[in-house]
């Protein structure tokens, strides 16, 4: 038997290019559906997990998908704003804790997430360096954001408007980095977290400038009486929010009307969640409530439908490839007729010759399966990073 294996092995090694192409073709045919299944399975598991960890989302009426994607993954366009009053309204129901979210601004490519301290225990985020947010003007960075911005506690980062076409006059604001979060492997790693009021200052709803009632501010003051001060546009607005100038910041308008992108509602219990959902289900409601799990299930249902088509296509291509491989082996036997005749003449039994040819096929199949198994293993261990890299580098 060893001689049969030896001869088959020598043949495959001698025709290494042909052998390599055969192994690669079979490997790809076996690996592709496995990899597709694996990546989709694991990614959908993770997407569902983040959605499942977010019981209810409140937003302005509009696309539930946009609301869920922006609030959970900080991806896509910011949803239409809703009033901050919803936070107090939810608190008054005593059915849920409300976590406000304000999105839309960025530091480099990283989203600025305005929220409350409840967000961090809710997402199980802990501090790796520095401390949590305490005052306006401070920022806590996700692990990946800290790496890519090369920022650490004691440093600073500068916000950018949501769009380069933002002509509404929102100035960049320098945020003081006070903490960096432990890596979690979630979209939170990419975030620049600030207090909700800092987000409003970044959005231009609040601002700080020298005290116009102070006599030393007279250089900017055009007119002053008991109840009104008119200053020129040269009044210097602070771009840094520091503990020293914090008292000079103020907001304009009623806080209840300040904008939020979404509110995460964490019901006291399951019954409270259902009650809360019921209260906002009316089509006339100015607020939309969604269950992120349902939104993600809808999205993934579409993906899995497409996956079926892809798998059928892969199966057809696989069948065609296997047929081609069978043809290659048959043609190869025809081409090797003289070699086979020689083996028979020097005393090889026909069964022996068939065993050598069969072993060659078997070795190619075994090598292909091993390669496919190896690639699947690599995909299991590093698939997410590879996929992420492929997507980010524009290959996919």
């Amino acid at each position: 038997m060893r001689d049969v294996v030896y001869l088959a092995w020598r043949y495959l090694v001698f025709n290494r290019w042909k052998t390599g192409i055969l192994i690669a073709a079979i490997t790809v045919i076996v690996f592709l559906p496995l990899a597709l299944e694996l990546v989709l399975e694991r990614s959908s598991e993770r997407l569902r997990a983040r959605a499942a960890a977010t019981p209810l989302l409140f937003g302005a009426p509009g696309s539930a998908l946009e609301l869920a994607l922006s609030s959970l993954y900080f991806s896509g366009e910011s949803p239409a704003p809703l009033d901050y009053a919803i936070v107090a309204e939810l608190g008054d129901t005593r059915l849920a804790a409300a976590i406000p979210l304000h999105l839309g601004y960025r530091v480099g490519s990283h989203p600025v997430i305005g929220t409350s301290p409840d967000y961090f225990p809710f997402r199980d985020l802990s501090i790796a360096q520095g401390r949590m947010l305490a005052l306006s003007g401070e920022a806590v960075l996700g692990a990946a954001a800290a790496d890519s911005l090369d920022a650490a506690p004691g440093g600073g980062v500068v916000t950018a408007p949501e769009s380069v076409f933002d002509v509404t006059g929102t100035y960049p604001v320098r945020l003081r980095v006070v903490g960096v979060l432990e890596p979690t492997g979630t979209p939170d790693d990419e975030g620049v977290f600030v207090d909700i009021r800092t987000a409003w200052i970044v959005g231009g709803i609040g601002h700080g400038h020298e005290d116009l009632q102070d006599p030393t501010a007279s250089g900017s003051v055009l007119k002053r009486d008991d109840s009104n001060i008119v200053a020129n546009a040269a009044v210097v607005e602070y771009r840094d929010i520091t503990p020293e100038n914090l008292a000079d910041f103020h907001f304009h308008g009623a806080e209840d009307e300040f904008p939020l992108s979404a509110v995460i509602a964490v019901p006291v219990d399951a019954k409270s969640g259902v009650l809360l959902e019921g209260r906002y289900q009316s089509p006339d409601s100015p607020v939309r409530v969604v269950r992120p799990t349902e939104v993600m299930d809808d999205l993934l249902a579409t993906v899995f439908t497409v996956r079926q088509y892809v798998l059928v296509a892969v199966a057809l291509v696989g069948a065609a490839t296997l047929a081609t491989i069978a043809l290659v082996f048959l043609l190869s036997i025809r081409l090797r007729r003289a070699e086979i005749q020689t083996m028979i003449r020097i005393g090889a039994a026909p069964g022996r010759v068939a065993a050598i040819l069969g072993t060659e096929i078997l070795l190619v199949l075994i090598a292909s399966l091993l390669m496919a198994g190896l690639l699947t293993g690599i995909a299991t261990a590093f698939g997410d990073e590879i996929f992420r890299w492929l997507l980010q580098s524009g290959v996919l």
Binding site: D118, P121, A134
Partner: protein, 316 residues
């Protein structure tokens, strides 16, 4: 088809964001879940709120007021570490009405904040408004309301009810005890209200001055029609202020001036020479050196009674 492509595009960018760690777990947020025998951790921003929380909470509450001694809680700026301590409390008691501006710029969870004057806004007293305008933002108001709300005992009772309501949600099993203690506190505040009303009876015609604009709720509650200055007890007001006061007195005479703390003897003497009796009326914003809020008000009532005896006003 277009929708499907859009969904797939969304998923593509999502997968780029989703990492490789185990599934996320939703965590409990907000204050700790209600429990029958738990103690509610309460942080207050001024003494009257802390005192009311202690009175109502009894052994069900652990109340902290981290304002350093001698510092006016209205103008205090806590350190980041103190704000982090506030974040850990089950309940953070706010006075509302713009009191303690630092809370505007501190990162605190709405789920733990209790604005004790929410719903009482129609009782707020204006403290004047300042409008300013500059640049493209145009004119904007900095409307202000007076903030020492508890000086109106009726408003203080409303604030006490808000505190009790917040505590009941945290320890529902102790609701009966909390309600009983609230009723007792409200009764004491009503008694204080009656005694203050008697003490201030007849003051309207006296002409009342306030050393600082902190007595608006006392003024509104008892119809005193007083006027506020901005004099510090430990400082000489200066010639300008004395001249301004003399001009004011020429327009409308005054016989009494309420002070947050004992004025300098020279200031008190000069006021008396002008026919104005300085009377100390502590607001109780910060913790008293001895006793509690009611004891402090008792001392205030004593001083009012002595003044009334001197001039024959009031009926205490």
């Amino acid at each position: 088809m277009k929708g499907t492509v859009r969904r797939l595009a969304s998923l593509g960018s999502l997968l780029a964001l989703v990492g490789c760690e185990p599934a996320e777990q939703g965590a409990m947020v907000g204050p700790a879940p209600p429990s029958g025998d738990a103690t509610v951790e309460i942080y207050a921003i001024n003494y009257p709120l802390a005192w009311m929380a202690e009175r109502i909470g009894g052994d069900a509450a652990r109340v902290t007021l981290p304002v350093p001694e001698g510092v006016d809680p209205a103008h205090w700026q806590p350190s980041a570490e103190t704000v982090l301590a506030y974040q850990r409390a089950d309940i953070v008691l706010l006075n509302g009405a713009g009191y303690a501006a630092w809370t505007e710029f501190a990162s605190l969870s709405p789920s733990r904040l209790v604005d004790t004057t929410r719903g009482l806004e129609d009782r707020f007293v204006s403290a004047g408004a300042m409008t300013h305008s500059h640049g493209p933002a145009g004119e904007h108001d900095h409307a202000d309301v007076a903030s020492h709300t508890w000086l109106d005992p009726e408003l203080a009772a409303g604030q006490a009810r808000a505190i009790e309501g917040a505590m009941v949600t945290r320890v529902p099993d102790r609701a009966d005890a909390l309600r009983q203690r609230l009723q007792s506190l409200v009764a004491e505040l009503a008694a204080l209200d009656q005694r203050l009303a008697l003490a201030f009876q007849g003051w309207r015609g006296e002409g009342v001055l306030y050393s600082h604009p902190v007595y608006q709720y006392l003024d509104a509650r008892y119809g005193l029609a007083g006027r506020s200055l901005t004099w510090e007890p430990g400082q000489d007001p200066g010639k300008g202020e004395w001249d301004a006061l003399a001009a004011r007195l020429a327009e409308a005479p005054a016989a009494v001036m309420l002070w947050e703390d004992e004025p300098l003897p020279a200031t008190a003497g000069r006021l008396r020479a002008m026919g104005i009796e300085p009377v100390v009326f502590h607001t109780g914003a910060g913790p008293p050196a001895t006793g509690d809020y009611l004891a402090l008000m008792e001392e205030n009532l004593g001083r009012l009674a002595r003044f009334n005896e001197t001039v024959g006003a009031g009926d205490n």
